[in-house]
Amino acid sequence: MMPRLSASFVIGAALSAIILLAALVSLFWTPYDYAALDIAARLLPPTPSHWFGTDHLGRDVLSMVMAGARNSIAVAIVAVCIGMGLGVPLGLLAAAQRGWAEESLMRVNDLVFAFPALIMAILITAVFGPGAINAIIAIGIFNIPVFARLSRGAALSLWTRDYVLAARLSAKRPLQISLEHILPNITGLLIVQGTIQFSMGIIAEAGLSYVGLGAQPPNPSWGRMLFEAQTMASFAPWLALFPGFAILFSVLGLNLLGDGLRDLFDPKSRRGVA
């Protein structure tokens, strides 16, 4: 029987789906060209023709928020993929090998983990120049230790299981065991963590764009929209509200979705269930 879907899963999935849908739709349609300036129509409040109003250069805010979703999601997805793609193999390797390999891998991990991610991201983009690609790399690098630690910890507990012991007795090599027995059993955990890291990637991208190190104009980005709205918040609050809500809802949605997924994958941790 399928477990009952929790409320947080439903709300989270719905919010995430809306944002994802907005990003997908923006690929081939936005109400207006998000980069088209119309100085004469600047700072219009939300109206039926411009649902989210227009900014100080007359661009349609709804179109910018939609295209910004695309940018945020693309950066966050690739960053999570970098983190998973490098972190998980490292974690599995550490758990399979133990000894000095594990020690050195995990200590390097700790080293990377010890730096505040956003500060290092600022450093990387400052050295290699601002732009979406460098933002992705910077955020991705700091996802690596998260996934490495997680997969190592989970794998270690699995290595003591009977089925793993059986596999070892049948002379399977550690690498094979990691791929065939360990990895499938930690997938649920990784998906949950991936969702959380995804939302953190969106925040990190917004933060980098806010300080001018993310996507460069005319490519829209939520963080830069917030930055530009700052001095105008007193008389054009819609400029700050809509990208702000976009960040809020996508991060909230992804976190709720992550919670819901954890409940799904790990019924024991579900509240109310003994």
Binding site: H56, P217, P218, Q230, T231, S234
Partner: protein, 495 residues
């Protein structure tokens, strides 16, 4: 035991809480906001306008001073006589003038200051001001004769620049951190990254400053500037950084918004030495593709006057050349096709931090896109901009405001970052330097404006407005900014 610890904690925390709750003590003097912090405080060895913004006319004074209407007035020289051939200036100095450290100001300081600024190893940012000087002779402690190589029509005006202030041989090497001048205020302290404090110099030789203290507080972020003015943390900004907030201040009875003129020509700087910008047709095409009013409305919320050349509309010799290349995208495309770029091209646009550049850059990129020119926008910090664009000329296009007064001469400098090389223009500047007659100078300036407009050296956008925002009770602030920096001795807070 526990109660004793908690009692100690309360004793420790209570004063902090009380201090936080208590009303802030009434402020002394005037607190002014500034967007940029100066890199040093020596106006004779730095180009940053923020240096003059703090010390010019306040800490340091020159032989002459530029009044807010742009006229030349006596300062440390109470009067002067000029020989008939315009080659000899005798300055009669103010008697009994002392530097803030107590040393006497006399003719030897004039000789020292001028010779120091014009020396080959001088680090003065405006060495051009001192080029005409042949020799400085001390006649007696209060009279000094400056002999020129050729008649220099604007010599008295130039001696009023912040770069030509009088310094003392003893304190000159330390003026970058502890400025010692003769002005109405003396330097007190500098909290790096926060504020510079000046105090009224009671032994000032002239009319004493009206305020006991002036503090400059540095607020880089325009949003923070807005909050600081609203909250009364600063009494005002002489140059307020966010024009979008002006309507809010204009309807607020507590504040006064004063829009004046500056000498800031805001331009789209073009690297004339780089392909395809070496081609005059390309530069003219860019000029036709620029819609100035749109940039002024979008980037400056309407505050700014369109210009067609590198010259202040406030000046007598101004020639309105905005019609020379009117906004005409189809004409721009024709010119691009003639130049061999029927499909346009791609170039980079490097932008410094101020909002006029960042916003103006986005608008400009959209305007040029309409004629097929794709601009890659690169935002950078000031230090990076000065290094890459200004010093190393590693750029295609940029947007910046040139705030020096009467700086059309930069177009005659081969090494300047526009990389515009014109023998004809240099000849014009040489003639200007030799001309004393006002009408003739005006005529030359008009020809010069026309030439750089015809050559479309840069994209000429708009004259920067001086946007003053301050508390209604703050009196004596300048409306216009004829030079970088303003004299604050008349400024006071009415209580």
């Amino acid at each position: 035991m526990v109660s004793r610890v908690s009692r100690v904690l309360v004793l420790l925390i209570l004063p902090i809480l009380l201090a936080a709750c208590g009303q802030s003590a009434p402020r002394e003097g005037v607190v002014l906001g500034m967007q940029l912090e100066p890199p040093g405080l020596d106006p004779t060895s730095g180009a940053a306008g923020a240096i003059d913004g703090v010390v010019y006319g306040n800490v340091f004074e020159g032989l002459t001073r530029i009044h807010q209407d742009g006229s030349v007035q006596p300062a440390l020289a109470r009067s002067w006589t000029i020989s008939a051939d315009g080659l000899e200036y005798v300055f009669h100095l103010q008697p009994d003038v002392r530097f803030h450290d107590g040393s006497l100001f006399d003719a030897s300081d004039v000789k020292f200051s001028l010779e120091r600024a014009s020396a080959p190893q001088s680090t003065n940012a405006q060495k051009g001001l001192f080029v005409p000087i042949e020799a400085v002779e001390i006649l007696d402690p209060l009279n000094v004769k400056v002999v020129l190589k050729y008649p220099a029509g604007d010599f008295l005006f130039n001696m009023g620049w912040g770069d030509a202030v009088m310094v003392d041989p003893l304190s000159a090497p330390h003026n970058g951190t502890i400025p010692v001048g003769t002005g109405p205020f003396r330097f007190v302290d500098w909290h790096k990254g926060y504020a510079i404090t000046l105090q009224r110099h009671d032994a000032y030789w002239g009319a004493p400053a009206k305020s006991a203290q002036i503090q400059f507080v540095f607020i880089t972020d325009p949003a923070a500037a807005y909050a600081a003015v609203l909250a009364g943390d600063v009494d005002g900004f002489s140059a307020y950084p966010a024009p979008e907030n002006l309507p809010a201040f204009e309807v607020d009875p507590r504040f006064e918004v004063v829009i004046g003129a500056t000498e800031g020509e805001t331009i789209l700087a073009i690297n004339n030495a780089r392909a395809p910008f070496g081609n005059l047709l390309v530069r003219r095409a860019i000029a036709h593709a620029i819609n100035r009013q749109e940039i002024i409305d979008g980037a400056m919320f309407g505050r700014g006057i369109p210009i067609g050349s590198h010259f202040s509309p406030a000046h007598r010799a101004y020639e309105d050349l905005t019609g020379m290349y009117a906004y005409d995208p189809s004409r721009a495309r024709v010119l691009l096709a003639q130049a061999g770029y029927p499909d346009g091209f791609t170039a980079s646009l490097k932008l410094p931090p101020p909002s006029y550049a960042r916003r103006g850059g986005e608008i400009l990129a959209a305007q040029l896109a309409k004629v097929g020119i794709t601009l890659r926008i690169e935002n950078m910090e000031w230090a990076q901009w000065l290094d890459q664009v200004f010093t190393n000329k590693d750029y295609d296009l940029s947007i910046v405001s040139h705030t020096e007064p009467m700086d059309i001469g930069i177009y005659g400098r081969d090494d300047y970052y526009f990389q515009y090389k014109s023998a004809a223009f240099k000849t014009l500047m040489d003639r200007l330097a030799l001309t004393n007659d006002a009408a003739e100078r005006e005529a030359i300036l008009r020809v010069a404006q026309r030439q750089i407009a015809e050559d479309s050296v840069n994209g000429f956008l708009f004259q920067f407005a001086k946007i003053g925002v301050w508390d209604k009770r703050l009196k004596g602030m300048w409306t216009d900014a004829p030079i970088q920096g303003e004299n604050l001795s008349e400024v006071y807070f009415e209580r």
